[in-house]
């Protein structure tokens, strides 16, 4: 196989691996939006929070992994409850700008508190996998990427089953479909809101841990990666779980290919901006994305 094809395949495979993490982050975003129509503009800070708490439990407190990970997730659930109860519940029914700004507000608080507690230096993250690449045909693949992809897929499958078959999952889908009907059938909408925030903080934390081990360290630039969920959810459709998963992988591949091929021509940084260019184009031509619900309103 020629070198160019190997290069391209390598970009695609890395893209799929990174995109898997985007899917996971987007899943949290979509769940919140579906359940409570809240747009979370601080997804990056949730990821950052998860990564730092994981770092603190594993490396600072030196807990064994089987204690540290559940502990991290419990902290994440608590954060989700605090955000839902303390910040968003008082704002139910307020204009969109208020809800958007309040998510910026708590994101800023999280960033500040993390910075106060642990400072802004880069923290080494435990490498959970061997750095030695193995070969998939002619294409070298690093184990971190493979395992992160496998983890993401297992998690996404687990969540799909949860939504499909468990009573709680069905209650969440019912609420997303129609709040009033769900409530009259005995679903506690408040509880669903709280639960969707908890799931969102948990998946953000998991993506934080995966991103931390992929990059080998955590610092505040992780929060910028969180903003990539916007291209993902716009591409997939704001209220579609399947869209979040497919959108994540597509955006991951797109940014890697554009970075790989256009960086030499345009002089760097294309990877960061390409998803947002795609976002604008999608919004112009298909605002509801691939699988989103179409809303029609005309004068």
């Amino acid at each position: 196989m020629s070198e160019q094809i190997v290069f391209m395949l390598q970009l695609v495979i890395t893209g799929i691996a990174v995109g898997g993490v985007y899917s996971l982050m987007a899943l949290g975003f979509v769940l919140i939006y579906k359940a409570s129509s809240v747009v979370n503009f601080g997804p990056g800070e949730l990821v950052l929070f998860g990564a730092y708490v994981a770092w603190a439990t594993i490396l600072q407190m030196r807990l064994p992994l089987y204690v540290a990970l559940p502990l991290t997730l419990v902290v994440a659930i608590l954060l989700g409850l605090v955000i839902e109860r303390g910040v968003l519940r008082p704002l139910i029914g307020e204009p969109i700008i208020a809800v958007i700004m309040v998510t910026f507000g708590f994101a800023s608080v999280i960033r500040g508190v993390l910075n106060m507690t642990w400072g802004s230096d880069t923290r080494p993250f435990p490498t959970l996998f061997s750095p030695e690449p193995f070969h998939l045909g002619p294409v070298p693949v690093s184990p971190v990427h493979l395992w992160s992809f496998v983890t993401v897929m297992v998690l996404l499958a687990a969540f799909s089953l949860f939504f499909r078959f468990s009573v709680t999952g069905m209650a969440m889908r019912a609420t997303a479909d129609n709040q009033q009907v769900a409530q009259s059938l005995g679903v506690s909408v408040k509880w669903v809101f709280a639960l969707s925030w908890c799931i969102a903080t948990v998946v953000s934390t998991l993506s934080g841990i995966i991103l931390g081990s992929v990059r080998g360290g955590v610092d505040f630039s992780l929060a910028d990666l969180g903003l990539k969920v916007f291209p993902v959810v716009i591409l997939g459709g704001l209220d579609s779980v399947a869209g979040a998963i497919i959108g994540g992988v597509l955006i991951g591949v797109l940014e890697n290919l554009s970075g790989g091929y256009l960086d030499p021509i345009l002089g760097g940084g294309v990877k960061e901006v390409a998803p947002f260019v795609a976002l604008v184009i999608i919004l112009m031509f298909r605002p509801h994305g691939l699988f989103g619900k179409v809303e029609i309103e005309r004068v």
């Binding site: 700004m101 910026f104 960033r111």
Partner: protein, 347 residues
Amino acid sequence: MKCGGFRVSYRADERIFDTTVPIVTLVVFLGLLALVPGVASTYWLDVLNRIGIAVIGALGLNILVGYTGQISIGHAAFLAVGAYSTAILEAKVGLPFYLAIPVAALVTSGFGLVFGIPSLRLKGLYLAIATLAAHFITTYGIIHWESMTGGVLGFMVPPATVFGLSLESDGRIFYLIYALVVPATLVTKNLFRTKVGRAFIAIRDRDVAAGVMGVSLFRYKLLAFLISSFYAGVAGGLMAHHSRILFPDAFTLLVAIDYLAMIIIGGMGSILGSIFGAVFMTLLPEVLKLTATSLTGVYPQAFGLIASTRDVVFGLAVIFFLTYEPQGLARIWVRVRSYWTLWPYSY
């Protein structure tokens, strides 16, 4: 003493100032403001200058978000376009500042129009996300169009000169800034007494209803973006002259969020609110800095915590105002004032 509004004509109802007292107060206030550069230290002059620039920027954003209801997270990009076009027009084209700032503001307006096109199809959070994307694309352009903008290395701006007098010092640039703050405020105040301003408010309250009543959504939404970005262009041009060196880092997403916070904390859809918000957001880090300085004796690490404390206080302030006082400082001001107007018989 005034104890109520008894207006018998529309003319009286539309008047900006009910009595002569606020006019006199305003003139005295502006007169005192003009004396400030003579007495204030460089530090406080710098703070006041930044407040003035923030007032113009916040007024512009309030026209778009607070009055027209079009959510924009791209205000930092407007400021950046204004600042960089001013700098380029002066350093590369050789225009004097009094031409460069208006031309740059026009360039920014054109840019704002392009930003505004998605608003014709998108509403609410979709528009917010579109402006967010536009912000990143603009920042990318500024960083990578190195031949024009200097990229991450920065861009030196020559000092503004008028009649051979260089406006290099904080004291002199102060007059330039406030000579623009005053008309910007008056124009905004008057804008909402005209047809255009009322159309903006109608679109904010319910765009479909406004459309049914014959307000051209196409025209007025774009006009709101145009006016808003013109203000941002002026504010950006002043920023270029105030800091004299431009970096892409001065126009991050956090700046756009700061401006949104200004109009939320100050009061959305309120001119006084834009001013209060600009003062609040500019003074917040300064107050924290002063507190940290006084605390260094007791708690030596205090200075290192300023940035993170600012983030926390800023976030809490935004959450607090949205939850308990959605109309912001301007509303608190009105309440306090009416309490004292009727004192001691207020209830």
